[in-house]
């Protein structure tokens, strides 16, 4: 089978990286060992080779200090390991009641970190360690935002365990919060310690930008991993956005990839326009917050597009899983228009170019009620 060809992928934001990547890598491997966040030696090797330090350095280039940068890098390995064990094919994913209880213990451990209430739950203890270390540097507002987005993460993982066949719209929503999708961009401003007020954070335009940055990284990782995922059974890759289009719309892989790229480009266009519009009269904290999202998006995309784990079929070298996919610092060509995915269509409510609402979504009109 010939390798899939990806179009060029554009992101008009600059490349930045936090120095001392090797220190971060070593620190994270030591932290992972401390909390034994792996099932066996093979799993440990795999986690150690992800390059969480580099990913953290790319996503959080302006981390306030070395300790904070280390927390970010450590959280990344936590998320990868948790994902392996609890989500997808992990052992715990086969036992929803046990798994949900364990996740609530993890959540409780960061909500109320004073007393280690679940010492036998290593993921809870490690996550609590993240919270306690954040508390040393951040304000209570920062940690609360971490705790709250982490709750969304767990909630969606719970939903995934029991609902294997979500609608397209639900599936997109599910991907937005699962796998740390919204925790990672939220950590951006926490890493720089920018003190943005809760009132400013509740601005729906900032919420939209945060969700868009989170969503684009999810989709972009879907594009780059699609070539490899084609080797898996169709039902094992249905949450991938390209797969979702391919399977639900009955189109070819190439057509599905083009549709998914168009979705991403429209979102990227909206992100850039809305970002510029908010920045016009933004306070320094809001501007810094937006910059943290920029770094998250560009840094994440940088990591995804260069990563051997997606590029090569064996994850290291040799036969490639895809061709193309070059990252360019240009503006996407076709970035206008809306999307017909209800769960995220609200982002376009804040399209600065025009006051507009998608057909059939008049907020004043009460739609048909569904029973039970």
């Amino acid at each position: 089978m010939t390798a899939l060809t990806l179009p060029e992928i554009s992101c008009p934001l600059p490349y930045r990286i936090y120095p001392h990547v090797e220190t971060l890598e070593a620190g994270t491997v030591a932290w992972m060992d401390k909390w034994r966040l792996y099932s066996d030696e093979k799993h440990r090797e795999r986690l150690a080779s992800i390059g969480c330090g580099r990913l953290g350095a790319l996503m959080y280039p302006f981390a306030a200090n070395a300790d904070v940068a280390q927390i970010m890098s450590d959280y990344i390995v936590w998320a990868f390991s948790f994902d392996d064990e609890y989500c997808d094919e992990g052992e715990m994913s086969e036992n929803p009641p046990r798994s949900i209880t364990a996740m609530l213990q993890m959540q409780r451990s960061i909500e109320s970190p004073e007393i280690p209430a679940y010492p036998e739950n290593k993921f809870a203890m490690a996550l609590r360690d993240i919270r306690l270390r954040l508390d040393k540097y951040t304000t209570p507002l920062h940690t609360t935002r971490f705790v709250n987005t982490q709750r969304g993460y767990f909630m969606v993982e719970v939903g995934k365990l029991v609902n294997p066949q979500p609608t397209m719209s639900d599936c997109v929503l599910l991907r937005l919060s699962s796998g740390g999708g919204l925790v990672f961009p939220t950590l951006g401003h926490i890493s720089t310690l920018v003190d943005i007020s809760q009132l400013k954070m509740e601005d729906r335009r900032l919420c939209a930008l945060t969700e868009m940055a989170g969503m684009m990284i999810v989709w972009e990782s879907d594009f780059f991993s699609y070539g490899k995922e084609l080797a898996r059974e169709p039902e094992d890759r249905q949450h991938n956005i390209v797969s979702l289009f391919q399977q639900r719309r009955g189109v070819t892989h190439e057509q599905a990839m083009a549709q998914a790229f168009s979705l991403r480009d429209k979102t990227a266009g909206l992100y850039i326009r809305l970002r510029a519009s908010v920045l016009k009269n933004a306070s320094p904290e809001v501007a810094a917050y937006i910059e943290s999202l920029d770094c998250y998006w560009r840094g994440g995309l940088e990591w995804i597009s260069e990563n051997p784990r997606y590029r090569y079929l064996n994850g290291v070298d040799g036969q490639v899983a895809y061709q193309g996919g070059k990252l360019t610092e240009t503006f996407p060509d076709d970035c206008w228009g809306t999307v017909d995915i209800p769960s995220i269509s609200w982002w376009w409510q804040y399209e600065p170019a025009h006051a507009w609402s998608p057909p059939g979504t008049d907020p004043k009109q009460l739609p048909h009620l569904r029973r039970g």
């Binding site: 009641p97 939903g159 639900d170 569904r370």
Partner: protein, 373 residues
């Protein structure tokens, strides 16, 4: 079967919103005149508009809750518009609890239930468009739109987060019918709206509390304590009802969970609950006095809003027809006693012992008597 309970010692006065049934000499009793209150009429219209029931019998049961009365006791301060949001949220939560969590077809289908809960959650956090056709999601969106109009964004944001906590707890309850005591107390305080009702209190009273104070651990402990206590006070009352009808296989009742885990009698479980509440109130009053020594007006008003919730919701639970009888529609007695006392002096609440349940132990870390804070 009739359950007999002793009076419940407590230190707080009673209050009710001045706009609700003004001139009523016994506002702590469930009365027929509440049927005619404009707030009550409006909330029934809200339930009708979004069809928050599965049949006429359930519609009548919801009317008998007297959400207007309940809301006015939990939220005795604030504008009429915000009070109506609070009352309608009572209607929403009871209807959702009955139909989706306990008794309707969906309550026994975890996958469908969790799907619906996720839709409600998303619709509540993204109110711009109608994303779902779920009746409860759309009714929740209506509340959110009104909050966006009448309340401040930080206040609304806290309530939105509380709804997420609520939905997550209900998912947990849906798949964990037999929790341990330690799990159950967390489940109880987050599910059934037990976290959302007190969160809404400061929104309706328009309390300006900075986010930093709101996240202060001592203030969170005060909030949690009364949120738990209110939930516990309903448990003996709900025990009988839940044993008699509804989703019986779910052991979601403090008394029932205590009986199982301690392998004790009903009376012994009641004794433990009574002792738990005294330990909690002892700490609450010590910590409140300590926090208020140098608290801002906003913080004091926030704590007061939580107390209002506790008193209002508890008085309601002890006098409502919903818990007084099996069917929820008449006055036939299923339990006697268990009323809150008149406010007792603070020195009555001198217990210094912590509650020996892991999930609650952190409160005592902030006990002013604890010098190793």
């Amino acid at each position: 079967m009739t359950i007999k309970l002793p009076p419940l010692p407590q230190p707080f006065p009673f209050a009710i919103h001045p706009s609700f049934a003004p001139g009523n000499p016994s506002p702590y009793l469930d009365l027929d005149i509440y049927d005619r209150s404009p707030f009550e009429q409006a909330t029934r219209a809200y339930a009708d508009r979004f069809e928050l029931y599965q049949n006429a019998e359930q519609r009548e049961r919801l009317a008998n809750i007297h959400c207007g009365w309940l809301g006015s006791m939990m939220y005795p301060a604030g504008s009429d518009e915000l009070l109506q949001v609070g009352i309608d949220f009572c209607m929403w939560a009871f209807a959702y609890d009955d139909e989706y969590c306990d008794e309707g077809d969906i309550s026994s289908q975890p996958a469908k239930f969790i799907q619906a809960s996720a839709e409600i959650w998303r619709q509540f956090e993204s109110p711009e468009y109608a994303l779902s056709q779920d009746r409860y999601a759309l009714a929740a969106r209506d509340l959110r739109i009104r909050l966006d109009k009448y309340a401040k964004p930080e206040q609304t944001g806290r309530f939105v987060e509380s709804m997420r906590i609520y939905m997550m707890a209900e998912m947990w309850k849906a798949i964990n019918p037999v929790p341990s005591v330690n799990e159950y107390v967390s489940m109880r305080v987050t599910g059934g709206g037990a976290w959302s009702f007190p969160t809404l209190g400061h929104v309706i009273a328009n309390v300006d509390i900075p986010q930093r104070d709101h996240e202060d651990r001592r203030i969170r402990a005060l909030f949690e304590m009364l949120a738990h206590l209110m939930a516990w006070e309903t448990e003996p009352h709900a025990y009988l009802k839940e044993m008699t009808r509804g989703a019986n296989y779910k052991e979601h009742n403090l008394i029932r969970v205590l009986i199982r885990e301690r392998q004790c009698s009903f009376d012994a479980a009641i004794d433990e609950y009574l002792d738990m509440r005294l330990r909690l109130l002892g700490l609450f009053l010590r910590l409140k006095a300590d926090v208020e020594k140098d608290a801002t007006e906003g913080v004091k008003a926030y704590i007061e809003s939580v107390i209002r919730y506790y008193v209002g919701a508890t008085v309601w639970s002890q006098n409502t027809r919903r818990y007084k009888s099996m069917s929820g529609n008449t006055d036939e007695a299923a339990f006697v006693g268990g009323q809150l006392t008149e406010p007792l002096t603070l020195d009555t609440f001198n217990s210094t012992k912590p509650i020996e349940i892991d999930a609650l132990k952190w409160w005592w870390k902030y006990d002013p008597l604890n010098t190793n804070q």
